[in-house]
């Protein structure tokens, strides 16, 4: 009669150009806080956060990577361990959006084949400085068959939702250990059909 626990550990990776706000997104998610001073991440750092999804306790281990160009070769070597990758650009910096294709190619080359990907257009609170319309983000995401959200770590928009969505996508692919596989497969199916591409 003892309740069984289904504890899982998901490793997520944040990638994207320098300065798009990867560290801030992580800080918002893990500590629910925001810091305006910009300190470039020189290396690989991580935080953990436990969430509950479909009654399962899931520990997210979120890796934050250096975005600077000179570290790209090194950071790609960290892709292998990731189960989900959050690719971030800055809606006020067209260059960071243009590089999305390059980052996606990097994922194809270096990450696990079945890695879950998600695209985030960060800093959506800065509407007056917006350079990349939301539609462009949506369209490139659709093109590559991945989900898309516009986020703001500063105003706490969609940050939690983004991580939960990515975690759910990974959970759906994780082999279920339930004693009753029928019920779980039904619920999985339901969710898949009711899900739409996210938006801001």
């Amino acid at each position: 009669m003892a309740k069984k626990t289904y504890d899982l550990l998901f490793k997520l990776l944040l990638i994207g150009d320098s300065g798009v706000g990867k560290t801030c997104i992580l800080f918002r998610f893990s500590d629910d806080a925001f810091n305006t001073t910009f300190i470039s991440t020189i290396g690989i750092d991580f935080k953990i956060k436990t969430v509950e999804l479909q009654g399962k306790k899931i520990k997210l281990q979120i890796w934050d990577t250096a975005g600077q160009e000179r570290f790209h070769t090194i950071t790609t070597s960290y892709y292998r361990g990731a189960m989900g990758i959050m690719l971030v650009y800055d809606i006020t910096q067209p260059k960071t959006f243009d590089n999305i294709t390059k980052w996606l190619r990097n994922i194809d080359e270096h990450a696990n084949e079945d890695v879950e990907r998600m695209l985030l257009g960060n800093k959506c609170d800065m509407e007056d400085k917006r350079m990349i319309p939301k539609e462009r983000g949506e369209s490139i995401a659709r093109e590559h068959g991945i989900k898309f959200l516009e986020t703001s770590a500063k105003s706490n928009v969609n940050v939690e939702k983004a991580f939960m969505t990515l975690a759910e996508d990974i959970l759906r692919k994780t082999p279920q250990k339930d004693s009753n596989p029928d019920s779980s497969s039904v619920s999985v199916h339901k969710e898949t059909s009711s899900r739409k591409s996210g938006c801001c």
């Binding site: 550990l9 690989i44 750092d45 991580f46 250096a66 000179r70 090194i74 292998r80 361990g81």
Partner: protein, 924 residues
Amino acid sequence: CVEGILVQDWVRSSRLLALIDCEEDKALFIYTCNKTPVICADDITLEAALPIKGDFICNIESESSMALPGADVPVRITTNETDVLFELPFGSKTSHFFSQIKQAIGNFLQQTSQGRPLSFQWVERYRLCIEESQQSGTNDLFGFDKFQPASTAQPHTVEKTPPPAQQDPDDLAFEDNFADLRVSQIDSGSEGPPGLSPGMRESQGSSYGSRESFTTSSTEENLVDVGSGSVTGVMKTMGSAVRPVGVRDGIVKLHMSKRESEFTVLKPFRIFIGTWNVNGKSCAEDLGPWLACDAEPPDIYAVGFQELDLSKEAFLFNDSPREEEWLRGVYKALHPRANYKKIKLIRLVGMMLIVFAKHELASYITDVAAETVGTGIMGKMGNKGGVGVRLVFHNTTFVFINSHLAAHVEEYERRNQDYNDICSRMLFKDFGSPLHISQHDAIFWLGDLNYRISELSADEVKGFIRKDMLRDVYEYDQLNRQMRIQKAFIGFTEGEINFLPTYKYDSGTDSWDSSEKNRAPAWCDRILYRGESIRQLKYRGHMALKISDHKPVSSIFDVQVKTIDEKRYKKVYEDVIRQLDRLENEFLPQVSLSKLEFVFSNVMYKEEQQQSLSVTNSGQVPVQFEFINKLDENKYCKPWLEAEPSMCFIMPGDKVEVKFIVLVDKMSASSLNAGEKLEDILILHLDGGKDFFISISGNYIPSSFGASIEALVRMHGPIREIPIELLFQMESDPSNSQQVEPFQAFDIPKEVWMLVDHLFRNGTKVAHLFDQGGLHKNFFVDHACIHLNLHRFIAGSIHSVAEALLEFIAALREPVIPYVYYQKCLDCSNNFVLCKQVLSQIPRSHRNVFKYLTAFARELLLYKEESKLHEKTLATLLGELFLRPPPGKEVLQVPPNRRQAAIQQIARKKASFVYNFIVNEYDE
């Protein structure tokens, strides 16, 4: 041995477990690790020595965490003094270690059963040492007294080696000081070392081994299932950082129970407890007058029987048709105004306990378990003893014990003993650590406890009863007296007895025992309770039931049950999880670095430059850092760079200086001359934490050391004066240098000419010209001359000039005999004609250098007397210089036992190739 980490209140610390073998008996030694990885004996301190004997229990803690593949296996080790929980890595090593311990326990039992009890005197000595060292304060990491809270601590074990170490007890010469002892043992060499050193060596080897073998030491990788074939430093980072959630379950539970009052509301529930010794009779009576005599239906029933079945079959096979019969009888007679569901039935021979709950409450009952304890014949059989059911109702834990204790008036001490036995042996498993009866909020103890009336005769008792003086009789009640002097049922309460003794009646009547024995009436059948929020409403006997020689007893209680407010529970739970996440993040290893970018300017050949980085442990836990390899690279940095130390352990608040040393030598000079930049990024990895990228950059001043012969012959001036792009171009494709170089090529590099010329003029008669290294300082002076201005006078001793020449030849980008001819030359080394043929094929400038240097050698040999040089010595020296194996083929593909011979053979061939040319004149 097992290397482990004990986590206490979120501070992880390593433990090393070693199974020490002393002839026949074994003991588990637990060491604290002052450093990871453990490298030398000073890195560990013995913390506890636990002999593996009768009280030693080693169990896998929880079934649920085993369900997660790759999760660490919690193992609890219990002795009379100690109770610790370790977290062992999932895998075959752990199971092997586990089986070794099991084997040791089995061995102990076997030994004692053969009447050869083991003394463990050798272990006692170690234990004395521990006490001494702790009293003297040498062990300041964690005192032994802190090393026990298994309920709160979450130890974590990382690595282990399986085989137990052998030990010779005769060698155990103990000094007064434990520290001395440790050192002397470790130092005493490999042949029969006493004490713990063999075990230690085992563990060192393996701790290195498993650092390399990523898949076995990393739990998470199993979850991720990357299926990576190659092990790289970076992968280690991703793999080893965070423990799975399962480890935290215990801590979450603890925090939740601490804050229970924040999310629970007390609500009263009615509990009916009934007990009846039915004297082996079948259920031929309506039980309604006993079980349903109250107006309100109870929420939970716990009904116990004794002597349910007195048949041999029940005793021997614990198999009884009466079980079903009485269950139906009880079920029928439960209160008619509610529907009940059977929660649990447990029976041991004649003792049966059934728990029912109202249908609608059944879903709030969880974690149900039942156990039996026999205390009858031989202290084990089930004719006497107890059965118990425990459960969690809402958030309150309940346990019901139905017992039948030893009979006969004078045996009250035996009854006390039975009670104690049931208390200590009744353990409910499957809930993490086994639960004792006392670990429940509400405890109900019912049954035929068999305590009688002392000192009064049967007639006296009956007399009192007739006069309705129950209270006076109760003064002589054994249970009453034993409880008062705290010999049994300590902490339990019994309500006031207002009913007639329930024993012994003539079956089928309400009249006292009329047999010859004429037993005195007694309150054999009792109900006791223990718990804070229990209120007894009724306590009574039921005279209406007559089939047995006992009368049934029942009691009604109101229990304040902690019910969970789901909303508040969720809030508290989330809060606890958030706090733990925060703590876990805070307790990740942290360091601050003084600098992340290092620039080395004007690096010159063989001139060392150093810069230092201070690494401060700014976190709250000990940190181990290490420079790790980048993907697909086999060293953590470029060949011209070195970090010292490249791996280190820092305590919180402490600081370590790391030196970066840049030194370009003949191995790295040629690629730098060819345009490779002096640039590298090092990954500083914190064990279990983040990585830093440290950028190293700088510029290299090209040197004729490490240049190619082709380029050198085309440089008329010093190398520094050649435009850098041109130099890179010449060096990146030396064979095409004619097209880019404007000058007419020299026959040989002027540097070679200059050095040889100097030696020729000044050194032909100097003894041991090449055997003696010049002074280092002079060597550098020579360098500078060669780099900067060839026409300057070469300073320094003749020996350092000779050394510079050798260094110069050795550093040549491609050796005098180009790589492609290497094998050919070795193959034909014993035939001068063939040698000459090969030589005629090599590029002209190379051939010139070869001819020039062999001619110089012949010249030197003319002055053999003075120079003390010998043809063979010289040939060997030059052979090594002229013939270098092509890059990537330096390591010979031969078995290790033949390697030495193969190396010598090749050296001989090289020497004899050159020998041909220094004993014979050679011209094209």
